[in-house]
Structure formats: structure tokens, C-alpha cells
Symmetry: C2
Amino acid sequence: MTAKIAIQGIKGSFHHQVVKEYFSESVDIDECLSFEELVDSLLAGKSDQAVMAIENSIAGPIIPNYALIDKNNLHIIGEHYLSIHQNLMALKGQKIEDIKEVHSHPMALLQCMDFLKQYPNIKLVEDKDTAETARRIQEKQLTGIAAIGSKVASEMYNLEIIAPEIQTIKNNMTRFVIIKKQNSFLPENEINRASIKFELDHKRGSLAAVLNVMSDCKLNLTKIQSLPKIETPWKYSFFVDVTFENYEDYSKAKSLLNIMAEYFKVLGEYKNTKPLSQS
Amino acid sequence: MTAKIAIQGIKGSFHHQVVKEYFSESVDIDECLSFEELVDSLLAGKSDQAVMAIENSIAGPIIPNYALIDKNNLHIIGEHYLSIHQNLMALKGQKIEDIKEVHSHPMALLQCMDFLKQYPNIKLVEDKDTAETARRIQEKQLTGIAAIGSKVASEMYNLEIIAPEIQTIKNNMTRFVIIKKQNSFLPENEINRASIKFELDHKRGSLAAVLNVMSDCKLNLTKIQSLPKIETPWKYSFFVDVTFENYEDYSKAKSLLNIMAEYFKVLGEYKNTKPLSQS
């Protein structure tokens, strides 16, 4: 049976591109117009796995997505890094002078702000999805409106690229995670990365103590972020990503954190696929 | 001369409410439709100070705003906590059955998701500003469309509250900071909170070492977050908030961090105003 993969956005989106690069076999796509819908698709069994953007090298972590994974007890089973290339596109024959409005996702608008600031007469309109806008421009034959998105989206919806590579930072990567309802267990020797969550009491130095243990156990911390605890304003949880060489070291750290932290949870244990040139 | 304060959004927004509560004297308001515009207002001297949402007890830190403060070398000179109450509002006479669409800021939609899920036929449309939508509904006499916002916004734009207090978490606070282009120096004995930024090399345990020093100097860490360094994917800066009792302790920590960190910067030193009941 062909696996069904939920993505945020429609075909031609960056999430779709991740599916093409990550999965070697052919899969069916469930297009979801929000991250909430994507999680619902997994929970309802409409899809087997989902691809979710989790962190961007410019805008930072996509915080509500950590909360979604945590709250719904989903499991991170893999990750994929995608280099983001943004292009301005419109109906064939349209020129930059014809464009009155650019519709796109807030993140895409933010990534292209330096380019867009050169055209103060163009109105920026926030939209839900980059590829969706491209599709709508073609479907409704909208003139005067441009979309921002990938080359794949321009080909898929038959739009012309008016300006290529318009993102401010050329070296722009987004990290995606592959999530599932049930955990799939990798052999321990293939695991070298984990995403964990813990809560600490408010005693001074408690976070330092935990980080000392992690350092003693040879874990490299690649990300840390305190997040408020829902229903308890200004009490914090910590979301931490680590890499390690030996699962045994990590396993020892887990046992210690279980004792030290008020609450401890593994969001996922998986294989680090960060491109070496970026490390 | 009356001070000019930049806010994100228009009069009737939560930012406007903060101005009313924070400033004892009467001030002029500069309405900005994005946080970028708000920063531009400060930099261009169109306003003397600005009010900026920085953290919400549900959705967490508003990450791009940290980057905006940092990148433009602005100074945090104060903070204010606001309890957020969301209401569904529409033209007088409209009932919940008449509503086809709710337009609001993504954050407000997120905060009211449990309520909105009871009405699956109502389409959710993301908008730039809560109060702006309220104003537009009144101006254009839009039926079938509701806004989400404060009681103040409903009064200001003469809309009727169809459903009060629709936010999922009743205890929902947002932290705002007051920012300036030039620093204003408080007497040291009035300062008990600071926002700092530092960068560390990638050696294992380097963050633990810094947190140990902060703990030794009696600083309480109230927030920590790693953020990617622009142009250097997957190298991280750390944004940290601390509170302390004696400025001398904090001063000592600053000297040590200056030596230990590859880069160290103070974003602001100010007075902690967190309501005691929330601490």
C-alpha cells in the first residue's frame, strides 16, 4: 500500500519538495492548509506520516509547532534540511511594473524584505501558503498580483519568474521533521540525535545543573528554548535538541534527567541529517 | 512637548491599552501596521518610544521582535504585562448564526481555537491586526464577518460583543517592552532585570559554564532561547532574561560574561514589573 504523507500547504510547496527528497518510494500526499489540520490528519489516521517545518535559519524555531508535537504526543522519527530559494512569479507577460500586490506567507515576505523594500508601491498581503497563491493566480488569471515561492511552484502553476532568488540571505535553510502518531524504533546505532523536553523547579542554578550533566554525558546541545507552561503563566518548560556519538552516553543522560527534572519527555530519537557543510 | 509613542496596530489594539496603562501622562500615538514599521518610526525620530509585544504566556516569545531590537541596536527601557481578554464582535444585531468568517491576527485566532472549533462552518481568515478588522467592519458595514479583540476595540468601533471571553486559556498574559533609540539610564538601585545576548563557541559545555557563572552571581534566569545567527546557518546566539536583587552581582556577571563569551551585549537594564501573583 502506498504510504500517505500529510504536508502543510499544497503540491508545489516547500513541504512537498521535502517529501520528494526524503522519501525514496512514491507516496500519496494529503494537502493540509494549516499545521493544526496536518496534526488532525495524523491523529485521524488519514495519513501515516507528516512533514512539518520546525526551524528556519533566519526566523528561528517555529514555536507553536513544538507545542503541537508535544501536546498531541506525536513522535519525531526523522529530519530533513532544505535550502530555500524564493522567486517572484506572476502570469506570463506580466512585468515588475505591472505588479500592484504581492501575496505570500508572512515567513516568505520576511525572507524577501530587502528586495520588496525596493518597490514601496507594491502592497504586501499576508497569505496562508506560498504555492496556494501561485495556484490561485493561474486559476483566476489574476493580473497585477505576484506570488513568492519555489521554482517548482512556478512550473506547476505555469507562472513566469519575474525575479529569481529574491531572498535576502542567500544561505537560507529550513529544517523539517518527519512525525508519526506511533513511534518507529530505529536501531540504537543509527540514532545520534534527540529532541527532549523537561521542566525544572524555579531554584537558581537548576538549568545549569542539568546542562552540566548533559555536557558530562558528552551530549552536544544544538538548540535550547524555554517555553511557557500553558495554564501556568511564566512557568517554563525547556525544549532541547542534542547530538551524540554513542547511544549509551545519551541513555545515561536520560536516566539522570529523569531523576533531576520535575518532568522529562523524549519527543524523538532519530538520525542527524544536517548537511556537513553547515555544521 | 507631548511624547510620541509608536504602537503596533491602531487605537483600540492591545498595544494601545499598554500605552494607557504604562504612561501616566497623556501621549501622542503613532499607529504602525507592522513591527518593522514601528522600528522605522523610532529610527526616523517620528516617535520617542515604542511599545512592542515580546512574549505571550501561551504562544511563547515573539522571536522576530528580539531580532529587530538586536539588529537595530534599540534599548529596552521598561516592560509591562497585560492580561489578554478576547471577544467575538460584529455589527449590532448580528448573531453567531449570521457569521460566515472571522478575521483576526493569527495569534488571536490561535488563542481562541477551542471556541472557534465549535463553529466549523465559520471560515478563519488571518489578518494583520485585531483592532483594524473591527474598524473595517464598522466602516464598510460588513455583515457576516466578525472580529476578535478587546472590549475597548468593540466600544471604539461601535461593535456588539457576540461572545465574551472566548480565549481558551483564561489566564493569558502578554509581556510588552518599551523600547527607545537611545538608552535612558535608570539609577542602579531601581534596576533588577536585564535582557542580554551572547554568542559562544561550539565547545561542549560552554553554555553550562556560562549558566554556572550566572547562578554563582545570584542571577535568576527567567528565559533562555537560542537563535540562529543570520548568514551563518546553525550557529547560535543566546537571548537570556535575568532578574537579580543587587546590581553589583549583575555587574560582576557582566564582566565575567564579557570575558567568557565570543560576543556579549546588553539589550536592556530595567525594572521588573511582573505582577507578583504570577511569579
